[in-house]
């Protein structure tokens, strides 16, 4: 009955890939969450939507790229390395070609630099663009934010390497090995067939069969290997993704500690509760605002660095726009101004996107995220965890 229904609506459900899809969604969502935190914290304190946040993310990615180039991973350096290896191999056929050694230490430098540069940029943007507008109408501040966003995009086009869109070289990343956890193995008959095909291939190779036979057997082996992988319920991810998820967790824990347990966090919460009263109570609100911008921007920088390093994303100056919009939607979904809400919104957006893809509708992936936002806002105008109190006009 179920099967008939799904076939009728054109959905081809593949239950064995669901756990993998959930993990995919978590990875996508964790990056959305990191960016969404920046939107939500600034909104919480200033009631300002910082449209330039996506551009801060973009600059974080570029910081990671340029620092990797400085550390000897520029495209030219890498090409020269492989060319010299190939030349050595040509001169001495017994020579084993090397690859550039990757060092986790490089990644630490890259992420710290990206976070630091983004924090400074966030503070500078706030000081020069938003502070003079703070007592103006909110529309004026909003338009300033759009202006800053455009300024960074187009200034980036002038000064940053943009065409062809560059990317952080794979050689920087030492965490490329796949880690696989099998929850339910593939059906026994398929595994047996696969084992048979492997031994048949080996036998053929030993008996010196012709290239065509070996090719056919190899294709058969590959096909069965793929079938085993496709029918098993397993989660496969690179070490890099695990490092990424762990880093996100650490950053979020640190943020939680900072906001809840430190004097700076307390001032931030006070300013978010009532900006004017906080300032009357002797809190240096300017410093709080700068701190908020630095914190949010540093998180975006960390997210950007991990995305471009572990996924190999190409970048250009408009690279911050798409994740910026998604993260903004995530922040609204979770309840803008609410920190756990931003994390929840980000993860939900990531999961929604991958689950839609799992159902076979990758064509409508982006639309569905917005449909969810629409439905949630209809029933909870303040977002999932946000307070929906009517604002005083």
């Amino acid at each position: 009955m179920d099967a008939l229904f799904y076939t009728l609506v054109g959905i081809d459900l593949n239950w064995s890939s669901l756990p993998q899809q959930l993990v995919n969604g978590l990875v996508v969502g964790s990056i959305y969450a990191l960016i969404a935190l920046g939107y939500t914290m600034v909104y919480g304190v200033l009631r300002l939507i910082n449209f330039a946040h996506g551009e801060v993310f973009m600059l974080g990615a570029y910081t990671a790229l340029l620092s990797s180039w400085v550390m000897g991973f520029s495209p030219d350096a890498i090409r020269k390395f492989y060319e010299s290896e190939a030349a050595k191999k040509l001169a001495d056929p017994s020579y084993v070609e090397r690859s550039i050694p990757a060092d986790p230490f490089n990644l630490v430098i890259m992420i710290l630099l990206a976070m630091a540069v983004c924090a400074v940029i966030g503070a500078v943007i706030e000081f020069f663009a938003y502070r003079p507008m703070r007592n103006q109408s909110r529309t004026a501040a909003l338009i300033t934010a759009i202006g800053v966003s455009l300024l960074l995009q187009y200034a980036g086009s002038l000064f940053l390497p943009a065409s062809p869109p560059p990317s952080v070289a794979m050689e920087v990343n030492p965490y490329q090995t796949n880690v696989s956890v099998t929850l339910v193995p593939a059906p026994k008959e398929i595994r047996d067939k696969f084992d048979d095909s492997v031994s048949a291939l080996e036998a053929a190779k030993e008996s010196g069969a012709d290239a065509e036979t070996i090719g056919d057997l190899e294709r058969k082996k590959n096909d069965l290997e793929g079938q085993v992988a496709a029918t098993a319920t397993a989660i496969t991810m690179t070490q890099g993704k695990i490092v990424m998820l762990l880093t996100v967790l650490v950053l979020m824990a640190a943020l939680r500690f900072l906001v809840l347990k430190t004097p700076a966090g307390r001032s931030m919460r006070a300013a978010s509760h009532d900006f004017d009263s906080a300032s009357l109570m002797g809190i240096n609100v300017n410093r709080v605002v700068t701190f908020t911008f630095m914190l949010g921007s540093a998180l975006a920088g960390a997210g950007a660095m991990m995305l471009v390093t572990f996924e190999g994303t190409s970048m250009q100056p408009f690279f911050g726009m798409a994740p910026g919009v998604k993260a903004f939607v995530a922040a609204v979904l979770g309840g803008i101004g609410n920190i756990p809400g931003a994390v929840l919104g980000g993860i939900l957006m990531g999961l929604a996107e991958t689950l839609v893809t799992w159902l076979g509708f990758s064509n409508y992936k982006d639309a569905v995220a917005f449909v969810i936002l629409f439905i949630v806002l209809m029933f909870r105008p303040g977002g999932l965890l946000g307070s929906s109190k009517v604002e005083k006009v």
């Binding site: 593949n14 064995s16 890939s17 993998q20 899809q21 993990v23 995919n24 969604g25 990875v27 996508v28 990056i31 495209p75 890498i78 190939a86 086009s157 065409s163 062809p164 869109p165 560059p166 990317s167 952080v168 070289a169 794979m170 050689e171 796949n178 696989s180 090719g215 294709r219 590959n222 096909d223 290997e225 793929g226 079938q227 992988a229 496709a230 496969t236 991810m237 690179t238 993704k241 995305l307 996924e311 190999g312 994303t313 190409s314 250009q316 408009f318 690279f319 726009m321 798409a322 994740p323 996107e353 991958t354 839609v356 893809t357 799992w358 076979g360 990758s362 064509n363 992936k365 982006d366």
Partner: protein, 401 residues
């Protein structure tokens, strides 16, 4: 429209001032007649924006053609002057660049490397009755309904899709292929469709098609869906900006034996940096390759290196820019030999009568082809330091009859 006619008026005035020629425009809208000591050819190329590397190569190639003909004494004692205008990678700016060139009295237009910009240049060429030779525009619509004014020196997407399908089925012996399509790019959609059609005709199976948008950077969801269908190859019809990371993520999902394939959107020096080891060994369709031993290619490379401090061209657009400009010069030579009037209408007619022009990117015949030459297409393989020639196909071998 108003703007166009104003520019046209301006164009007339300029021509009158510089050459004193006031001949009534022929054909649909005018065109120019070569007067004085020079024959002007207009080139539109992207000197800024995303397409800059292609634009720069295209200009370098076209300049080479200009220098070569002028060193040989020009045409009938007249020098060729190549005027370059910038389109900044934008269709609208490409249109105004073409208008500007038209008003400077060029006899014909060359450009652009991308279909979107070329389509805008086409409207100018049609208004002014100027012949246009497109450099790297592969979309089939570029030459459609152009009164014989628009032609190109590259193959179309209707060729490279089938070429890859044919190669996948017969050489790689793939039977189950999945497709990744960038649903924001008409180029990618068209290419996916032409690949799928031919692959199915050959007897292969398309086990699934997943979609993404340019600018996206995590493809885990789509790739897990593809993995569960167990394909033996994946055709990625988008641009290298997304293809590189996608290749990495395909391997990260554990699909280690799957063959990767694509179209000329892969052609970039950045592909191996974003794709890393994952993309090495992948196959794509390209216009020509520096390692080919045809004399046209080796002559061109020698000349290119001499003119560019010993550097090789970074992309195929240098050769295509050279071919497009040379094709126009070749037509002008034939007109001169036949003592024909040196005007745009005759030039357009002569270009469309080209037979077996020996281009760097292969032989070009335009006679009876409505502007689309039957170009050979190359399958190349990605290596750690660039690309390697695998096989060349004539369109007649791969396109269904």
């Amino acid at each position: 429209m108003a703007l166009a006619s104003l520019a046209w008026l301006g164009g007339c005035k300029d021509t009158a001032a510089s050459g004193g020629d006031t001949k009534e425009p022929a054909a649909s809208g005018g065109g120019a007649t070569a007067t004085g000591d020079v024959i002007k050819i207009g080139l539109v190329a992207s000197q800024g924006g995303d397409l800059r590397p292609w634009g720069q190569d295209c200009i370098a190639g076209a300049r080479l053609a200009e220098a070569e003909i002028n060193a040989a004494g020009g045409i009938g004692g007249k020098k060729i002057q190549l005027i370059v205008e910038d389109s900044n990678s934008k269709p609208e700016e490409g249109k105004s660049a073409a208008e500007k060139l038209a008003s400077e009295g060029v006899i014909g237009l060359v450009g652009e490397v991308a279909s979107g910009i070329t389509l805008q240049m086409k409207t100018v060429a049609m208004d002014r009755g100027l012949p246009l030779i497109a450099v790297g525009a592969t979309n089939p619509d570029v030459t459609k309904d152009s009164n014989g004014l628009v032609s190109r020196v590259c193959y179309t997407d209707d060729v490279q899709g089938p070429v890859m399908a044919f190669f996948a089925y017969n050489d790689l012996k793939l039977r189950k292929v999945a497709i990744m399509t960038d649903n924001k790019q008409p180029y990618s959609q068209g290419l996916s469709a032409s690949f799928a059609k031919r692959f199915k005709e050959l007897g292969g199976e398309i086990v699934g098609e997943e979609f993404y948008q340019s600018g996206e950077n995590q493809f885990g969801g789509q790739l897990t869906s593809i993995k569960s269908k167990n394909p033996d190859g994946i055709f990625m019809s988008g641009y290298f900006t997304e293809v590189g990371p996608m290749a990495r993520q395909i391997r990260q999902q554990g699909m280690t034996n799957v063959k990767l394939m694509g179209g000329d959107g892969w052609d970039s020096t950045e592909l191996t940096s974003s794709g890393g080891d994952a993309i090495v060994g992948g196959y794509f369709c390209n216009h020509y390759n520096n390692a080919e031993d045809r004399p046209e290619v080796q002559d061109f490379l020698k000349k290119f290196r001499e003119a560019n401090n010993g550097n090789d061209p970074g992309t195929t657009m240098a050769a295509l820019g050279y071919d497009a400009t040379m094709l126009m010069i070749d037509a002008l030579k034939r007109m001169d030999a036949a003592k024909a009037t040196m005007d745009s209408a005759t030039l357009a007619k002569t270009i469309s009568e080209t037979v077996d022009f020996p281009g760097v990117s292969g032989k070009i015949t335009l006679q009876g082809m409505n502007g689309d030459p039957e170009k050979r297409a190359l399958v190349v393989q990605v290596t750690k330091t660039g690309q390697e020639f695998v096989k060349a196909y004539e369109p007649s071998e791969v396109v269904a009859k």
